[in-house]
Symmetry: C6
């Protein structure tokens, strides 16, 4: 299964929820441009005089029937994407070339990957032959009412505050493609809310947790600060 959606919209949460609901162990790997096949499948490690094989997270999930969640999978290197191919068709096998072992996936093994379509401008994309192996679900930020509930609950602030934060985020998301790669995420809203709750005044908390980390562009920053001032 492919989960598509912007950073911090709840893809990881969704996978954690499904794992809990299905009562299966969950193995999460945050992929990046240095994630190689060995990072997923395992490697030989020094232990005293000898070298022992240590299963990587994907191998462990395949052996023991866990859900393996590859976050931001388009960031991983090509050879990492390749090891998942024989796992995602009829064969359901994982070949460990370095060990000369071929693992047949545990019947409970499931593979979930996620990526952010908004990053394709960076030239990262999945190949058609990889896409064909998955079903896909699209994620969006929650609607304003639901997002305010989340921020109020997770950040432990009054709903009143949460609503204003969510409005700032909604406006920032309009700037996507016009100076911002992404708008303010739900995660950032929760962080700002927690700062406000700890006693920092709202504009400073918004600067610290939301507008200052989000951009270095003076014009965009001015626009974001305007959104904040309009609410607080």
């Amino acid at each position: 299964m492919i989960l598509k959606g912007p950073t911090g919209c709840g893809k990881t949460r969704f996978v954690e929820y499904m794992a809990a609901k299905l009562n299966k162990p969950l193995v999460t790997v945050a992929c990046n441009e240095d994630t190689t096949a060995s990072d997923l499948t395992g490697r030989f490690l020094l232990s005293g005089d000898s070298t022992d094989w240590h299963d990587g997270p994907l191998t462990a999930a395949v052996r023991h029937g866990a859900i393996c969640y590859l976050d931001e999978v388009v960031e991983a290197r090509a050879d990492a994407l390749v090891v998942i191919h024989p796992l995602t068709d009829d064969r359901r096998i994982l070949p460990l070339d370095k060990r000369g072992e071929l693992i047949h996936a545990h019947p409970d093994f499931q593979l979930v990957v996620s990526y952010n379509p908004g990053y394709q401008a960076f030239g990262k994309d999945l190949k058609p032959s990889t896409r064909q192996r998955f079903g896909a679900i699209e994620f969006h930020y929650a609607d304003e009412a639901a997002e305010a509930d989340i921020v109020a609950h997770e950040g432990e602030v009054e709903r009143n505050i949460a609503v204003r934060l969510v409005r700032i985020a909604a406006q920032s998301r309009q700037l996507r493609g016009r100076g911002l790669v992404e708008g303010i995420s739900t995660r950032m809203l929760v962080q700002a809310a927690a700062l406000i709750r700890s006693g920092i005044d709202a504009p400073a908390a918004c600067a610290l947790a939301m507008t200052c980390p989000l951009t270095d562009d003076d014009e965009v920053r001015t626009a974001l600060d305007g959104f904040v001032r309009a609410q607080f």
Copy 2:
């Protein structure tokens, strides 16, 4: 033999069928941009204190007279394509440089490679001197009636449903080169049919198995969703 055709049109199935009909073992290698000569021919692996040679899939096929099928062969690295050269002329030999061994191919050994001409836009192509070593067969998606039969049979849905799915696919294939690298494949149709059969309503099944994995482009997605709505 070269098999040319789009992803998921049945090239692999054809090879599996021929292997079964000829009663020969089949060794399939899904090539990718990290497939090297060693991945095909074999390597030395640690086993306890010593290092032992393990034949790769091509070597095993050459020794024992199997059909070796290199899927998406244009993806493999140049040195991987090179090891097949002496196998595909009069010599029919496989030199294993690292072992200092020269294998004469078993008389039953056959080599089949496939690639997708639609991917040439990515700059991947076979060299003329490689092409000259093979005969070639072109594959296309089955015509609509035959494809509907396949979808109805493999997805276990009524022919009525299968016909509509095939129409969506036919329309999506018109978008090739206009926003899509490839249209919806037969394989995706079978997956959508299986979801419909499991009780998911048709538009949701089409989104999950067909339109959502296929593209991240909003305009193309809207067009695809229109094709779905026109059928269901």
Copy 3:
């Protein structure tokens, strides 16, 4: 926490001050384009006949609860930035792949990174998914009065001299983006002040410590020398 601001404006000083105030050990790493994950986490080193593991600065800070300060973090290589990811979310863990060890961060461990937004013209930037993990504080040069106090105190010159030096710096900072990547920093002012105090006449000290190191461009140099002559 991210600290953003120009070179030599006091980011490092701020971290040192906070570490002293919080009574925590501080581990500083000046990142550069050859800073790898191993430079941060540690490596095996030869010691006589055997190879022993030596913790890198980040690992030491994680184990013992220090503040780890990564200066100019955008310079570091991608794999170095990646090792901080699991440290900066709920997990607060540091995996040492090469050792097969997983360290849970000491409760006192804190991570502070800094970068200079003015260098983004060089194509160095943080990824959105990294930015989301941090709060951020913006630094600017101190205002002229405060900066003069600093220069007078640190350079041990009369306030009168310090004021003139600060005026030169303020003018040079107007040239940012018009021939200069950065203006004269507070650090350079302190160096010039110290030279003046040691008996070198002011224009020569300004050339030696400020205008000559700052640029090789004849036009910009002439402008800077004009600023110096206007004060001394």
Copy 4:
């Protein structure tokens, strides 16, 4: 000696004929972009506990006085071309750096290289200082009558069939530079003839052995199929 000419026009046959006529052993190396100096000169290989030196094909030819034929020499990597330099001037020596050995060429040793000038569009060319070391002979496809004789003889078909196949090839060679890197080679004609002789009808045999492997371009393919239809 340099042999220049298109793929499949008989360069390799010519060398084999000359070797037979001169009664000298022939060592053929098909060069490719991964052919390194070690592939030509030899390397140390594991054999049980020790590592033994194994002469490469060029070294063997130099030692024992064979003809060494480097096919498609422009494909080889620069260091491979360099090892032949001291062999091709007055010195006639082959230095084996890794072994610390210097071999004086056997008096019977001869070096023949070939390349296809039609591939220069790919940026592959010999350096002037390399060219100066060789004499050169140009090869072309045989004239139509002679080529028909070859096809009839090698493909074991009636001359009538061979003549028609040769006409198709002649027309295809007009397309060189207008959509085709190379026309249909004599080798392809022989393969098509052999298929016809095995009972496949002529248009299908031409598609399988000639037009389908040669191109993926729809327009060029249509032109080639037209040439076939005009003959059969």
Copy 5:
């Protein structure tokens, strides 16, 4: 300290003079694009059966309190420039990662680097954060009278000859940026003078030591030869 100025204007001489005057040992490293951190700090070398650490030139200078002079420092690789950073701020330390040793610089240790601003066209430049760590002195060729003295003294020719050579050099330096990267240096003048003194006639000596090495451009060469003819 940074010394800036054209090739052969006396930067190295200046450092040698200062070292002699201060009665300190001098360690000179001519940097180039393959100069790595290990070249400066040291490496493990084979000596019989064991591997011993050998201090590099920078390490030796740091330990024993010498002046270390890095000539053409912008040529060195990034990691080489990085090892000097902790040496050039308050810390004055040199970390030897590979040995796990941290050296505190000897109080007499001084670091001088030089580069040629005229080479910046080649894309080589110091980073602002590196420049900030140094004071800088600019060097120019000596004025014509002083340069004639130097040439007469070092080349052991009559002042009359030296004056004419210096005039040629002065004219050549006008061509900087118009076909020449650099004009004729003082060093070249001394070499030409020495050739004249050894009995070679002046135009031939100028060609041999000055104009022929300086350029391969026919037009520029003609201009330079004109300057020579005007003097001799």
Copy 6:
């Protein structure tokens, strides 16, 4: 000393002559884009169980006082050019980093390098700081009369034949920059003369030894063949 001039004009011959005249051993290294510092200075080689150091050609010349001739020096890699720097100034030393040895050059050691200014179009050039270390002599092809003498003598043909060959070469050299990187060299003329002497008729000998190796361009070839026909 730098020798500049086209391929095959006699630079190597000149060095051999000077070495013979000065009664010094000569060590020649043909540089290429894979020539590294180790190729010049030496390396550790396996010999039975131990690894022994073997001096490279430059090291041998430095130790024993030979002339070292680096042919086509601009082809060598940057680190190879760097090892000659300390040999070509006052120091006359060769540091062997890998061995931890520093060799002071034998008083008789001399270094001569050559390159072909006509190849600068390929982006190969010497750095100004390298050029400054050498005197330079320019070489041209001999004038027609002298070149005819050489061809008659070395190729053992009548002067009449040699004169005609030289005329062809002179015309071909007019094509430099208009389709040819270099014209026909003296060396090629000698080879053609030798073929004529062995009984091959003149036009065929010229094609084999001169025009066919020189170019793959049909137009240029036609022009060259015209020059040949005009003489024979």
